[in-house]
């Protein structure tokens, strides 16, 4: 199912290394590093043109990571929790560019929850990765809003508050691409990222990404060990680019679902244990609530709907990006001023 990885260059003649960034300054073993390397891999495999990608982040460990991938792309490390607004502005200035933002659970779930919900409500076309570890790393171990209830941490003591589920919040806000994954499941992260780049609006990937420094005890639901043992993928995912033939072997009824993505590519969902229909909003929500109740770590594409137009579509943008409009389109002629002033004489 995977495309061959041995080729030295992709369709636009770039090597995987061309999609790399600066060396990571995060902790050795941090989940965020493996996500960054999947972003590199996916951009390479999709043959994204680096100058047509724009990276964003907020503040926190997660938000440092855009420096570690796509070094040939423009980027903007914004303020804590304010990546959505900044990203919205930049992608409105040039709507032909693909956005990818990397945020964390503190950045998205606490200080930036409002902007997160409004970004999704606007449906700004961008891939929104949440590197979710339930804990504040740079300030040394406080609980974030996604920390599991009852969790005990050395610095913070016991967490008595229920977590905010950022996938539920996304579905409630009208997001049409909501997925959860695990940094330890590289293949799933990759396939979801590819599909996310094909989405019409905001695509949310809430990726549990263990913090090796502050929240990686085996019994913590956001640890590697827990994830390895408890991850329950709803399906096996395979991304199929637009031009590619689909080869499907023998399947049982209901075993395989094909989700058509906005740009003509497709996502193949092979059922594992249960049937989950990602196009049913209520079912997605109730499956998440059920998982919460049963303390299940479900992953995969939870909800998909490409019907809602993106923000740049509803904003009636001109074909030429606003940033590139010539003066003749930006400044009306002198007669227009005279005509307007006539009303005020």
């Amino acid at each position: 199912m995977d495309r061959p990885r041995t080729i030295a260059s992709n369709a636009i003649g770039l090597s995987r290394a061309d999609y790399g960034g600066s060396p990571s300054t995060l902790c050795k073993g941090c989940g965020h590093n493996s996500i960054a390397s999947q972003i590199v891999q996916v951009a390479f495999e999709l043959s994204l043109k680096p100058h047509q990608v724009l990276k964003f982040s907020g503040i926190g460990c997660s938000s440092k990571s855009p420096a570690y991938f796509l070094g040939m792309s423009h980027g903007f490390n914004a303020l804590h929790g304010r990546m959505p607004a900044l990203g919205t502005g930049a992608l409105i200035a040039n709507h032909t560019i693909r956005g990818i933002g990397v945020s964390g659970d503190g950045d998205t779930g606490s200080i930036g929850l409002g902007q997160y919900k409004h970004l999704l409500r606007r449906n700004v076309r961008m891939v929104y990765v949440i590197e979710n570890n339930g804990v504040y790393g740079l300030t040394k171990g406080q609980f974030s809003a996604t920390a599991d209830e009852g969790l005990e941490l050395k610095y913070a003591g016991q967490n008595t508050l229920p977590p905010i589920d950022l996938c539920q919040e996304a579905i409630a806000a009208g997001c049409g691409f909501v997925a959860r994954s695990f940094a330890g499941d590289a293949k799933q992260v990759r396939e979801l990222l590819k599909a996310a780049f094909s989405h019409r609006g905001t695509a949310v990937l809430d990726i549990i990404s263990p913090c090796v420094a502050f929240n990686n005890e085996d019994d913590s639901p956001k640890s590697y060990a827990y994830g390895k043992h408890h991850e329950k993928p709803l399906h096996e995912l395979g991304f199929i680019p637009p031009a590619e033939e689909i080869v499907i072997g023998e399947t049982e009824p209901g075993e395989l679902t094909l989700v058509s993505l906005h740009d003509g590519s497709r996502l193949k969902l092979r059922r594992i244990e249960e049937g989950h229909d990602p196009t049913d909003r209520a079912a997605a929500m109730s499956r998440l609530i059920e998982a919460e109740r049963r303390q299940e770590f479900i992953t995969g594409l939870l909800y998909y709907d490409a019907k809602r137009p993106s923000f740049s579509e509803t904003s009636h943008l001109p074909d030429t990006p606003l940033a590139l409009l010539p003066e003749s389109d930006l400044r009306p002629p002198p007669e227009a001023l005279e005509r307007t002033l006539q009303r005020y004489r």
Binding site: A85, A90, L324
Partner: protein, 609 residues
């Protein structure tokens, strides 16, 4: 009917085209249409005129006053009114009490009032009876009732009915039915007044030819129009009085004026979830290459502080209109002031300094509308435009606006070819002016990309905590601010030969100051004036202070914010910088400025006091 028992005293000057009128009504009763009709009718007659709406933070019911100043000499500052239209039961007693002897009042005879003014010309008008024959019912009827005072004033002040009709036509954008409906009420009241009232007061208007080439509009409309001609392509905002009408005006002009050849819109207006998001969108849009603005007021810029610092430090262009109201906190949301100057100038934590433009007229609102967008891109930084409620929301006369004399200034943006040819490093000061070159996302040249950030960085935009990098970068930013001094609009000066004292001010206090200076000059007390039009300070400001023994900084805030900035920037000149600072939410009157300047012009009087 209703004639005074004794004859009111005469006002000892010719009041033709020289008086102030106040209309007292309740908010939300539709009186604004009637007020603007009087205002526009005088403008149509060629008489210099200005209106100030003193309104409550309320949708319906609280008292509101509309002041109209008619001035053959062209003075437009607020002045205590001699003529009253009393249409509000809740304030009628107070309103009558404030009139000077010899004044005049048109009072709804349905109002009960305990104050009786034998020294004022009072004309009761039977509003209810005049409306009895109207076919209109309910709310429309209440709205139209205001037109009765228009009719009565037209008779008493001698405003021709065709000027009223022209004003109504302008009001309703030529919607004939609305014009006729309103005009019918005006005519009815006018006919009644002609038959029933005997004019005993001296107040009247007479046609002039002083407004022929002028326009009458609000500062918010003018600023929005200027921005449209400045090529604004992204506007992100959150509703807040008194800036909302800026965006309303923008949204009115854009669809008509800003279509590409193929008919596409060349702009986007986004209502954000709050002011943090609004300015966040600007910082992103400016980085992306759009010309981006927002309009807000004090509480909005409080929320914008963090992003303003990012815009300064990551060096992205944006324009922030702060239509000032009275703070701190929610303060007086519908009153005017100049209390945001110091905050806007340094908005953000750490060593932040912003370019601040200070318009005082609709002409300057228009000019700064386009110029601010140029400056923001030239200097790659947020630019603040500090208007105020009085300028933004009220109707002012002005010269027809001048079309921008220079093409759009897009600043130092490298094309792909230029990057190929000369290479690119985001924060290297090649020209020595502190302004470095940038590239826009989408630039396909190898090496064109960079990672913008609010953290310490090298000249190549790479994260750095090195002390040397920090100092190099912040020193360059300081150098850029020095460059900005010569880019911003020059101060406007009027020097009086031999004057010992100079007045320094900014924004809308200019009108009260000009009138006060004329009055002082007629008393043989002259002073120079300098009206600041931007921060940072240009060289001529120092020259002006040095040329006078004393300068008096006049401003509408409590603490003397501009005076403090001047003293801090010119410590050697600080002893000669005095402050007249006051804020009660009302625009200054000339008599207030006169009273407060007098001691500086007559030192003997100061000692006696």
């Amino acid at each position: 009917m209703g004639s005074a028992m004794t004859t009111p005293p005469r006002i000892d000057r010719d009041v033709t085209n020289d008086f102030s009128l106040v209309v007292a009504t309740a908010n939300g009763t539709g009186s604004q249409t009637a007020n603007l009709t009087i205002l526009r009718a005088c403008f149509h007659m060629g008489i210099p005129v200005h209106g100030k709406n003193i309104f409550p933070s309320n949708i319906q019911g609280l008292p509101t006053w509309y002041h109209i100043r008619v001035s053959k000499d062209g003075y437009v500052a607020r002045r205590e009114s001699e003529v009253l239209v009393a249409f509000n039961q809740r304030t009628v007693d107070d309103d009558l009490r404030t009139l000077p002897p010899g004044g005049m009042a048109v009072v709804d005879s349905g109002l009960a009032h305990s104050v009786q003014r034998d020294d004022v010309h009072v004309y009761p008008i039977p509003v209810k009876a005049l409306m009895a024959e109207s076919e209109h019912k309910g709310k429309l009827r209440d709205y139209l009732a205001n037109m009765t005072f228009v009719g009565v004033l037209a008779h008493l002040l001698e405003i021709p009915l065709d000027s009223i009709e022209a004003a109504l036509a302008a009001q309703f954008g030529g919607k004939r039915k609305l014009v006729d409906t309103n005009l019918a009420v005006v005519r009815g009241a006018h006919a009644w007044a002609s038959a029933e009232l005997t004019k005993t007061d001296p107040f009247r208007v007479a046609p002039m030819d002083a407004t022929r080439d002028l326009v009458l509009m609000t500062g918010n409309e003018a600023g929005a129009l200027g921005s449209v001609f400045g090529g604004v392509s992204v506007a992100a905002w959150y509703p807040i009085t008194p800036s909302t009408s800026f965006i309303d005006a923008l949204r009115g002009y854009l669809p008509e004026l800003r279509r590409s050849e193929s008919g596409e819109a060349t702009y986007v207006v986004i209502q954000a979830e709050d002011e943090v998001a609004a300015i966040g969108m600007l910082v992103g849009a400016g980085f992306g290459g759009a010309r981006a603005l927002t309009a807000t007021s004090g509480p909005g810029i409080s929320l914008m502080a963090e992003f303003a610092g990012l815009g300064y430090f990551a060096e992205t262009p944006s324009v922030i209109w702060d239509v000032q109201r009275v703070g701190p906190s929610t303060g007086l949301p519908t009153r005017t002031g100049q209390g945001d100057l110091r905050f806007a100038y340094g908005l953000g934590h750490g060593d932040v300094k912003h370019v601040v433009l200070l318009p005082s007229s609709i002409e300057e609102c228009f000019e700064f509308g386009w110029r601010s967008l140029d400056l923001a891109e030239q200097l790659q930084t947020p630019v603040f435009v500090l208007s105020d409620l009085d300028l933004g929301m009220n109707n002012w006369m002005g010269e027809a606006f001048t079309y921008p004399e220079q093409p759009l200034q897009r600043g130092k943006v490298l094309t792909p070819a230029e990057v190929m040819e000369r290479g690119f490093a985001r924060y290297v000061d090649l020209d020595g002016d502190g302004i470095t070159y940038r590239t826009l996302p989408g630039n396909e040249a190898p090496g064109a990309a960079y990672f913008a950030r609010g953290t310490g960085h090298t000249t190549h935009a790479v994260y750095s905590e090195r002390a040397e990098d920090w100092v190099e970068n912040t020193e360059r930013l300081a150098r850029k601010f020095e460059t900005a001094r010569s880019y911003v609009p020059e101060a406007h000066e009027e020097r009086s030969p031999g004057a010992r004292v100079g007045v320094i001010a900014f924004g809308t206090t200019r009108y009260a100051i000009a009138e006060a200076r004329d009055a002082l000059a007629s008393e043989g007390l002259s002073c120079s004036s300098l009206r600041l039009r931007a921060l940072p300070l240009r060289e001529e400001v120092r020259d002006f202070i040095e040329a006078h023994e004393q300068v008096v900084v006049v401003e509408m805030n409590r603490d003397g914010q501009l005076a403090a900035i001047l003293r801090a920037e010119y410590p050697d000149l600080a002893p000669r910088i005095a402050s007249v600072a006051f804020l009660d939410g009302m625009p200054f009157t000339a008599s207030f400025v006169h009273r407060r300047l007098l001691p500086y012009l007559t030192p003997a009087a100061l000692e006696v006091a």
